[in-house]
Each structure stands twice: as structure tokens, then as C-alpha cells.
């Protein structure tokens, strides 16, 4: 889980994950998507994603094909909950501060 979080902290790795979410893609197609990034950098990102269990790799002849591993992503499903949970925690903080200000007056 920790590896997955760290892997997702890099914007290009998130973009790669989006690319291979619905379909399997060869590494070359993934690299082509990033005009400004070297192929070796993309290869490193893919390795990080693979190590984190977020993508699976399959070899087809000389090609390497990648796709998202949704099982690992399901472990991150709780993030959807956290989106609102953390929001409500901030609401509590600002509302309680406002309440204290009111009572001081």
C-alpha cells in the first residue's frame, strides 16, 4: 500500500496509469504519449508502477505490454471516502474556530 501511494505521488505515473486503465498498451505507445520525456524515464516509471503492484507487465515477443492492475487499485478505494472525510474535518476546524470567535465577542 505504501509503495502504491508513493508511486502515485508522481504526476507522470498517474498519467501512465490512466493510459493503461482501460486497455493494455506496449511500452512504446506509452512513451510516445510523453513527447517531452525520454523513453528510459518512462521505463523507470513503469518499473516503479509494476513494483508497486499498480500495473502488470506481459511480454509478447520483444514487446512489453502494460495494463493497470485494478485489484491493487481497489485497495485504494477508501480514498474516495477520505476525500469527503478530510473535507469534513477541515469544515469542523474552521467552523469551530468561527464559533470560538463568536463566543469571545
Amino acid at each position: 500500500m505504501d509503495a502504491a501511494l508513493k508511486a502515485l505521488a508522481e504526476p507522470r505515473r498517474r498519467e501512465i496509469l490512466r493510459l493503461v486503465w482501460m486497455r493494455e498498451l506496449p511500452a512504446t505507445d506509452i512513451a510516445d504519449h510523453f513527447a517531452e520525456v525520454t523513453r528510459s524515464a518512462i521505463s523507470q516509471h513503469l518499473t516503479v508502477l509494476k513494483t508497486a503492484g499498480l500495473v502488470t507487465e506481459r511480454r509478447d515477443g520483444t514487446r512489453r505490454l502494460y495494463r493497470a492492475d485494478r485489484n491493487e487499485m481497489k485497495n485504494l478505494r477508501k480514498f474516495l471516502d477520505e476525500f469527503w472525510t478530510s473535507g469534513l474535518e477541515r469544515l469542523r476546524d474552521v467552523a469551530e474556530a468561527a464559533q470560538r470567535d463568536k463566543e469571545k465577542r
Partner: protein, 146 residues
């Protein structure tokens, strides 16, 4: 369709909490960075979240100090959760000098999290902010970075 329910107890009155739900300047102190909202039935709801994700919907029901209901989605081409496609209901329940705030996000496609990578984009972004910052309040932080 899936729904998500979250509750939190706040040591403040509904009167104190209400502006944070209905006034743009107060709303962005806890949710999003830019809010364009018109909290009356049919009024627009547009909040920019995490500095780059535009959420959009419309108000359905507004009962001062008690309840606000609005539709909600992401304003992005082909997003699996389009604007107005889900509903968020926030209700305030006074309990003594505290208030229980209940948020129900309903109408979420059950597969929004599992099958649509684009639906994940928003959540991944927030996740990444949390991971790199480790502290709540990433919305304001990401505005500074943008």
C-alpha cells in the same frame, strides 16, 4: 449505484456552520479553491477542487440552517461522473451545543472507482497531495502551486 455516507460532530451551532456551506468565501476555507455558487433551487454549483478539477452541478434544495442538496459531477470531457450526475446532501443536526453534520453522496456509479481510470484522476491527485504533504488542507496548498 453506490452511495457514501460521512458524518462528523462539530462543536458549533448550525448558524455558525451554515455560511461555510452556502457562502463562496467561507466554503473555500474547507472545500475547493474557487467557488461559484448560487445556493437556491436551480442555482449553479461550481467548485474548483485541488487547484485543477472543476466540479459542477446545481442546487436542488436549500433549507437554511438545516439542509443543502446539490447535484455534483466533474466538468471534463467523457468523465464517468459528469456534472450533475450524482447528488450530495448535507444536513445539520443540532445536538446540545454541538452539531452533527451528515454528508450523503449518492448516485455514484458503482464502478466509478473500479472501472474508470478517469474517474480516479481526481482522487489520485488528492491522494498524491496528501502523500507528499501529509497534512490536510491540500486544496489551498495546490492553489498556491498552480
Amino acid at each position: 449505484m453506490a452511495q457514501l455516507v460521512r458524518e462528523i460532530m462539530i462543536e458549533a451551532t448550525p448558524e455558525t456552520i451554515w455560511p461555510f456551506l452556502t457562502e463562496p468565501d467561507s466554503l473555500v476555507r474547507w472545500h475547493g479553491t474557487v467557488a461559484e455558487i448560487d445556493p437556491r433551487p436551480g442555482g449553479i454549483y461550481r467548485v474548483l477542487v485541488a487547484g485543477q478539477f472543476q466540479s459542477a452541478g446545481a442546487y436542488v434544495e436549500v433549507v437554511p440552517m438545516e439542509k443543502v442538496v446539490f447535484t455534483f459531477g466533474w466538468d471534463e470531457d467523457d468523465h464517468p461522473i459528469p456534472p450533475g450526475s450524482t447528488t450530495i446532501e448535507i444536513t445539520l443536526h443540532p445536538e446540545g451545543d454541538k452539531t452533527r453534520v451528515r454528508l450523503v453522496h449518492s448516485g455514484l456509479p458503482a464502478d466509478a472507482v473500479d472501472d474508470h481510470g478517469r474517474g480516479w484522476a481526481h482522487y489520485l491527485e488528492r491522494l498524491a497531495v496528501r502523500v507528499s504533504g501529509g497534512d490536510p488542507g491540500p486544496d489551498r496548498g495546490s492553489a498556491g502551486e498552480a
